[in-house]
Symmetry: C2
Subunit: 429 residues, 2 copies
């Protein structure tokens, strides 16, 4: 018999959680390991304790809530997301995956369903990365992608370290972060983009995550007074900056899956009446296909080299500062999401995640997938962030179906192949 989550209970809990750290604009601010974040966790843990679930914490503040299975030795099914928000956060980003996970556990309890495998509901610390960098920190440390000591030394704008906050909140007494040997990980999340809404789909079958490459580009010219120096004698970096923007836009047009963003531009010294001596900018390139991303990288490097040749009056630096390889989710799990959406007659489509998620870290260790639901106008990290009760319930039902399927499965999924971390990049870096 098919189980269904209690959509009203889930919605009430989403709205209750939003009151913790509520902002005047209707959103929530629970930056990682702040008092508001800890209050949100306390509310969540109270709900879990009321059901008698076993609670485990680790040294970086990750939470693991276990609903036991028939076979205590079987590797668990992991579900979950995060409760921390951006300073201008909304009510759904992260919270949906955690509270829908709790809803799955309770639905199984209410229907007295006994699963073969245990189910672990995970709450990852500091997914957002706004207060402490890098983002996706708790999952990164638990999955061995990020060094614990490095994470502990991260400092917020006020100079407080992550380690200080973990001591203050008592997490320093817990065991070192470690991902349990697991059957799989499934994360429900809002899309944070406009595609599902535009195509009137309820479920995004997430096949993987875009690869990301970050660059810093500097154009060095010569600072001079805006009045006395004729245009032809200037070494102005701004016309070169213009060509870099043109180049990045052209790379973004090569195919419809390419994403190219210039998020920051600084002119130095930055005075209205001074020809800048220097222009600095950042570039973010993304693509769901690693080979295509390699091509985009090559286009950027070749384009900068051509600009260097054509603009001898300036020097141009451009280099890769960080990259995250393309993530490919597990085929069996993807098909299970698709099958659930089909069975429930929910409109769905395959989609690639453009944003980073804890699931990207977990995918390096255990078979993983994600489920997306639409959010209004694609807006997130904003008090206007909104997902409808219908879509929220639908997403939670799909999470329930896949969790139930995997927690009843007797054979384990094959371990993921590690995504290639292109050595080519290091050579160009």
């Amino acid at each position: 018999m098919r189980q269904d989550v209690d959509g009203e209970r889930l919605w009430r809990r989403l709205m209750a959680m939003a009151e913790v750290g509520a902002t005047a604009e209707g959103g929530s601010c629970r930056q990682s390991l702040s008092d508001a974040d800890e209050a949100g966790r306390a509310l969540f843990l109270a709900w879990c304790e009321a059901r008698g679930y076993e609670i485990r914490k680790d040294r970086i503040g990750n939470l693991f809530i276990r609903r036991p299975g028939r076979n205590r030795d079987a590797s668990p099914v992991l579900i979950g997301s995060h409760l921390d928000t951006q300073p201008t956060g909304g009510r759904f980003d992260g919270v949906l995956g955690v509270l829908a996970g709790l809803e799955v556990l309770e639905t199984l309890d209410d229907a007295a369903v006994e699963t073969a495998r245990p189910i672990d509901l995970c709450v990852w610390t500091n997914e957002e990365g706004c207060r402490f960098q890098p983002a996706m920190m708790g999952s990164g440390v638990a999955c061995g992608v990020l060094d614990l000591e490095k994470a502990l030394s991260a400092r917020d704008g006020a100079g407080t370290t992550l380690a200080d906050e973990l001591v203050r909140l008592g997490y320093d007494r817990e065991a070192p972060p470690r991902l349990p040997d697991s059957d799989c990980y499934i994360e429900l999340h809002i899309e944070q983009g406009p595609i599902l809404e535009a195509e009137e789909k309820t479920v995004g079958v997430v096949t993987g995550g875009q690869g990301i490459r970050w660059y810093e580009i500097s154009v060095h010219g010569e600072e001079t007074h805006a009045g006395p120096v004729p245009m032809a004698l200037r070494k102005d970096p701004v016309p070169v900056l213009m060509h870099v923007i043109e180049l990045v836009q052209a790379i973004g047009r090569t195919d419809e899956d390419a994403r190219c963003t210039i998020g920051r531009i600084d002119l130095s010294p930055g005075a209205i009446n001074v020809v800048p001596g220097r222009a600095d900018m950042t570039v973010d390139l993304r693509h769901p296909n690693e080979a295509a991303l390699d091509r985009m990288h090559r286009q950027l490097m070749d384009g900068l080299e051509a600009l260097r040749q054509n603009h001898k009056e300036t020097d141009i630096d451009g280099h890769l500062t960080w990259h995250s390889p393309v993530v490919t989710f597990d085929g069996v799990l993807i098909e299970a999401v698709r099958a659930s959406a089909r069975a429930r007659q929910l409109m769905h489509r395959d989609i690639v995640s453009g944003a980073g998620h804890d699931a990207f870290n977990v995918a390096r260790r255990v078979p993983t997938t994600m489920i997306f639901v639409p959010c209004r106008e694609g807006v997130s990290h904003n008090p206007r962030e909104y997902a409808s009760p219908f879509d929220v319930t639908a997403g939670a039902n799909v999470l329930l179906d896949v969790t139930l399927a995997r927690s009843s499965a007797s054979t384990s999924l094959p371990l993921p192949e590690l995504a290639p971390c292109s050595r080519r990049l290091a050579a160009d870096g």
Copy 2:
């Protein structure tokens, strides 16, 4: 008999003044009304007192040093410049005009030359405008271009007002600033541009000053995550910013006297992985011809309108924030500078000042001109600023010749016509 300045004495004084507020890099830092600025003035006044000149100060700290003429009632010849510097100032900007002025007075004394008119050597307060805004403040107030009360309320970065500093230094007991009825004003200055050096000229015959118009342009798009949103669905202000740069560069190519500068660009929120919601930039347009500047203004406004039509995904604001009309110097004085350079067999050319000077304010009230000498590589506002002893002496000799010519002239020059402050601008503003 032709008089000549004592170039070595002038050079020694320039180097002595540079020791007041000397910086490790070889420049000087005497920001207006600081202790260092006041110490520089004290050194200068000691030199003046040793000659017994009459010293007058005013309430904003302007200094007037008088060498009397035969006819006490004749309107004086004004010469001078400023002693304050940028934080990273050099040894010549402003200081040259003041100390060459003192050199002129002393040369006349040494040769026992009696002039018909008195000569007033002016030291204007806060020409640089780096500590207190606006720039050219002392001359602006004395010439009625700037309101005294507004100037007194200007605040530096530490919150100190100009009025506070004037009280501290005792200037508040002096008479209100007022430009004396004068025959003319002549200011010697380094070019602060590369033209004289490039053409191997010693003297720039300054015919006037560029008109300046400042603009703030904002492109409003929609902030979104760099990953999930396809390029075609973005409302990214950066491609529009690119077209604005293109437009401004094109305006700068319309004729060789046009100067166009984008000095500041800000993307908001300014994160590497966020498509900016907004781009703000400044534009500085300059031209020595007011009609040409009108055309440049029109090109900018029309260009922004065309971008507005072609980029409906964004909103574009662009408006004039400040303007300074074209300054035309006095024809008789210009010809006197040219005649002196010719007589002394100094290579010279006509030139238009790209930078603002106290002379621009004074030109609104009395017949005015300027004399430029080259500075190495056009560099100023920098410890590397340098003018050679030969050029410094040559400039001072031209200043001496013109001062002597005007202080012996019995008929006064015609008063300047006020430059037109285009009403058209207000309509567009």
